[in-house]
């Protein structure tokens, strides 16, 4: 997942601005120096979206709370290896939360792990990929929510099964009894549509 993490950057998120991003990076630097207070700062800025994502995936408050704890523990442990020039801390935290939550979901279904967040974290350093610092605004998120509801149902189901249920496209194809190629196309169309919505060209 390093590639995704490296380019996901998009500076943090909806309500966030350049100075927040700078503060995040400063907090991570302080965490790397062993300052526990910096974790509190990072937590206060990001716990809500991290928790909300985990809760959406797991549907269970206790497990979502465990994920939040794991994510911030991991950020604490790996702060020294985090290269601030590589991108937004918020996007990284959300990606860790998604991986951890999906891992739990897969364990619940007694399936083999597909992606490991440790793998993601181990390899996210030192990639040479470009960083984009576009900021996602509240307004964009609102448009994404609306656009999601307007997607054809199978497109919407396909991306939800992938992103929030952690199914691979082959598993989604089996689940929906659709050919794999069709599922790939649906996922692609849905993402391209949402990308246009994000870019504000629709």
């Amino acid at each position: 997942m390093w590639l995704l993490w490296a380019v996901i950057d998009r500076s943090s998120g909806l309500h966030r601005w350049a100075e927040d991003r700078a503060s995040d990076e400063a907090a991570l630097t302080r965490m790397a120096q062993g300052e526990g207070d910096a974790v509190a700062e990072l937590y206060d800025r990001h716990a809500r979206p991290v928790y909300s994502l985990a809760l959406r995936i797991l549907g269970d408050v206790t497990e979502a709370e465990d994920v939040v704890q794991e994510v911030f523990s991991q950020a604490w442990r790996q702060a020294s290896r985090y290269n601030t020039s590589r991108g937004a801390v918020a996007a990284w935290l959300l990606m860790l939360a998604r991986s951890r939550a999906i891992d739990r979901l897969r364990a619940r279904r007694a399936r083999p792990k597909i992606a490991s967040d440790e793998h993601a974290a181990d390899t996210l350093i030192d990639t040479g990929l470009p960083v984009d610092s576009q900021v996602i605004s509240f307004e964009q998120i609102t448009r994404v929510r609306a656009a999601l509801d307007e997607l054809p149902m199978l497109q919407k189901l396909a991306i939800e099964l992938a992103y929030f249920e952690g199914l691979t496209h082959a598993e989604i194809a089996a689940r929906l009894e659709q050919p794999l190629g069709t599922v790939k196309t649906r996922i692609r169309l849905a993402l391209m549509k949402l990308r246009e919505v994000l870019a504000g060209t629709l």
Binding site: R48, L157, Y163
Partner: protein, 271 residues
């Protein structure tokens, strides 16, 4: 470019699934190896990645419990959590001389007589405003409850479809609605998702009813539904855990409130 363009095209197709985390480990590794040296694929991932982050942010937002904050901070620093931000300090009490207090209370009593009438008027105005505000608040609460229901319905649809024991039944339009079609997904553990399109709007006083056909001779009612103005349906129904395995489904038109067994015409049927 060292890779053949066919292989490149195939890998580029995977960018969307990659961004959503929907590739197997082997597929992911192959894609990453390719994208690391492919400008086009890298750009594709980059431009789609904001969508993944958008999805992460688009979920309903919930405030984590304050206990969690303490737990997280304790676990990472090995020390107790940092104090919660600013509890207000106690303002220092002012001391009046007793005579001053007496004089003040006398003056206050005189002033209050006149003031009371003014206050009664203002209380009336405030009561009216409060009434308005309460009404608006309950309207907002109702809207929030509606939104929650919608969100919960969408989540349970996905939960059913992700069930390991999923059964799918396709339903075809009958004489009354030849253009209609429907599909049902059933899982013993998670319930039933029913989707349909091109169903005509039911006349006043009538409703659609979904029936589950099993080895048992009597159809079992799954529930009632109304299509949206475009004739589409996407509903989740709970089914009893001891339901015999469905062999088919049918939708009939029934009086409002539904019927204990099918009486009306069939609209879509799947066996």
């Amino acid at each position: 470019m060292t890779m053949s363009s066919t292989a490149h095209d195939e890998l580029r197709e995977q960018a969307a699934a990659y961004v959503l985390g929907a590739l197997t480990q082997a597929e992911r590794e192959a894609f990453e190896a390719h994208a690391a040296t492919c400008v086009e694929c890298k750009a594709e991932v980059q431009s789609l990645s904001s969508v993944a982050e958008g999805l992460a942010h688009a979920v309903p937002q919930h405030e984590p419990s304050s206990l969690l904050r303490a737990r997280v901070l304790a676990s990472v620093s090995g020390t107790s959590a940092t104090a919660a931000p600013g509890t207000p300090g106690v303002a220092s009490a002012r001391v009046f001389a007793p005579w001053l207090a007496t004089a003040a209370s006398l003056a206050l009593a005189v002033a209050l007589g006149g003031y009371a009438a003014t206050l009664r008027g203002r209380v009336g105005v405030l009561e009216l405003r409060l009434h308005d505000a309460t009404q608006r608040a309950s309207e907002s609460e109702r809207q929030i409850a509606d939104l929650r229901r919608t969100a919960a319905a969408a989540q349970s649809q996905v939960a059913v479809l992700a069930a390991p024991d999923l059964v799918r039944i396709d339903l075809a339009g009958q004489l009354r609605a030849p253009q209609a079609s429907a599909r049902a997904f059933w899982s013993r553990s998670r319930g039933l998702v029913f989707t349909a399109s091109n169903l005509p709007p039911p006349p006043a006083g009538r409703t659609y009813q979904l029936w589950i056909l099993t080895a048992h001779p009597a159809p079992i009612s799954a529930g009632l539904f109304k299509p949206d103005p475009q004739g589409r349906v996407a509903e989740v129904f709970e089914t009893p855990p001891d339901l015999p395995k469905p062999t088919g489904m049918a939708v009939t038109m029934e009086p409002d409130g539904g019927a204990p067994s099918p009486t009306g015409e069939k609209y879509v049927v799947g066996l």
